[in-house]
Amino acid sequence: MNVLLVILFAITLIYLSITERFRTYATLIGMQGLLLFALSFLELETITLGTLLFVAIETLVFKVIVVPFLLLRIIRKTGIERVHEKALPGFYSILFVSGGLLLSIIVSFSMNTTPVNMIYFIVSFFAVYTGLFMIISHKKIFAHLIGFLVIENAVLLLSLAIGSQIPMLINMGILLDIFVSVLILGIFVMRLKQHTHELTMLKDE
């Protein structure tokens, strides 16, 4: 079951790299949050119930509800609908992302981890690669934000993989989550009132 959810996570990443509309970005981030929520229940069986509930509910609240809501609000307020002016056409994005998949397999296999966590490592590295690639290949700052959120999801996925041994790591991952949501998105939404037009024209040429 875990493997299925992780594979679905990887497929959302592939879809993320080719999609055109910002709304889909928000929906995909929400879906990733949902997958992580389910995974947190299935993977972290050995830590105390209290911590587990905290992790699960935090993931649910922040990743599935708050973040997509804030993203959709930004989209509505600034009226940006499509991903204009990518620095890279869509065909090359998917080629680079497939290359990233192969790269993450090679990197994971050369690390000789325990067998159970291999798929998590592969997909986490792939997610980090995809997030970084999104930041590099897009011009709008909104896409950069999405890339950062993807990297953050990757970090959480990785911490879930080894979380049974190091519960503190998960807590740190959660804190990163809250930090990101509050700081970045809060600033975005607050600042939007004054500089609405700047957001859509940021980094345009």
Binding site: L4, F91, S98, V116
Partner: protein, 303 residues
């Protein structure tokens, strides 16, 4: 041989079900299930008009297209019954026989000297070229999972037991369905009902064929659908079941496949022509994800 018979039987009702589902979904009653084949029989009895620009290529292209499809069907195994022609890596021969049919189809289209056919030929060549790697990655995955190379052994060994092989099976079926849609020029790559030549792919290549040739091509298209249907059935049907159950499940899967194509066509819009290569390469990426899964399973790295 059995695959050929089953394919003919499937092809008899396949296009009819697709059209019927589409009609019912859009609120109409729709034509009968066997209407497409009645059309084909009418075509078989008609005479032909040949363009003065064409040469002998135009005369032999539909024949070779159909012949290569029939040979490909002979190669296929059916769940539980091996093909007499099966051998190691025979799916390579399958892919290349289909490519032979496509080659002649394309040059048959270019023979007419019309710009429309050139457009369609160009796109058809591009999309089939991009879909090849997905097909091979898919079979590489199955070969890796089962450790065998001939289609019959692969499908015999491939059990849908355990979550991981089920995921592999789902990815395989998804990729196969999408490849089938691309190869037969269906949504979201091409709309079979469009009348705009500038946006056609498959339909525009057969604009100048008429009568007997057009009938041969339409028979070929229906058989192609049946071919992919048999491949999907091979993945999904366990060989351990008794023969009557397998037959029933086979026809159930074909009906479900046809119905799902009808539903997909009714509810999905066509993609922009420029976005199609991207879409097809995405299939290869998804197949690659399936390959990673089988790689991990093969080296016993996940349960």
């Amino acid at each position: 041989m059995i695959a050929l018979l089953l394919a003919i039987i499937t092809a008899l009702f396949f296009p009819g079900i697709i059209i019927r589902v589409k009609s019912l979904v859009s609120g109409r009653k729709g034509p009968g299930i066997f209407q497409p084949w009645k059309n084909i029989f009418v075509l078989l009895r008609k005479s032909s008009v040949f363009s003065t620009t064409t040469s002998f290529i135009f005369q032999i292209a539909p024949v070779i297209y159909l012949a290569s499809l029939v040979c490909a069907l002979i190669l296929l195994p059916v769940p539980g019954i091996p093909s007499r022609f099966g051998f190691g890596a025979d799916f390579v021969l399958l892919a290349y026989l289909l490519a032979l049919g496509k080659f002649f189809f394309i040059i048959g289209a270019l023979d007419t000297g019309s710009s429309f056919e050139g457009m369609g030929a160009n796109r058809e060549a591009l999309y089939s070229m991009l879909a090849e790697p997905a097909f091979f990655i898919l079979f590489g995955t199955l070969a890796l999972l089962t450790g065998h190379l001939s289609m019959q052994s692969i499908f015999e060994q491939f059990h849908l037991s355990g979550y991981n092989s089920m995921i592999g099976g789902i990815i395989a079926v998804y990729v196969l369905i999408q490849i089938a849609m691309i190869e037969n020029s269906r949504m979201p790559v091409d709309d079979p009902k469009t009348h705009l030549e500038l946006t056609m792919i498959h339909e525009v290549m057969i604009l100048d064929h008429s009568g007997f040739d057009l009938a041969l091509i339409q028979i070929g298209t229906n058989l192609k659908f049946a071919l992919y249907g048999i491949l999907i059935a091979n993945i999904l049907i366990p060989v351990t079941w008794a023969l009557p159950y397998r037959i029933a499940l086979f026809f159930g899967i074909q009906t479900a496949f046809a119905a799902s194509i009808g539903l997909m066509e009714s509810f999905r819009a066509r993609k922009k022509m420029m976005k199609n290569p991207q879409f097809i390469v995405t299939l290869s990426s998804i197949a690659l994800v399936g390959f990673i899964l089988s790689l991990l399973m093969m080296y016993q790295l996940i349960r």
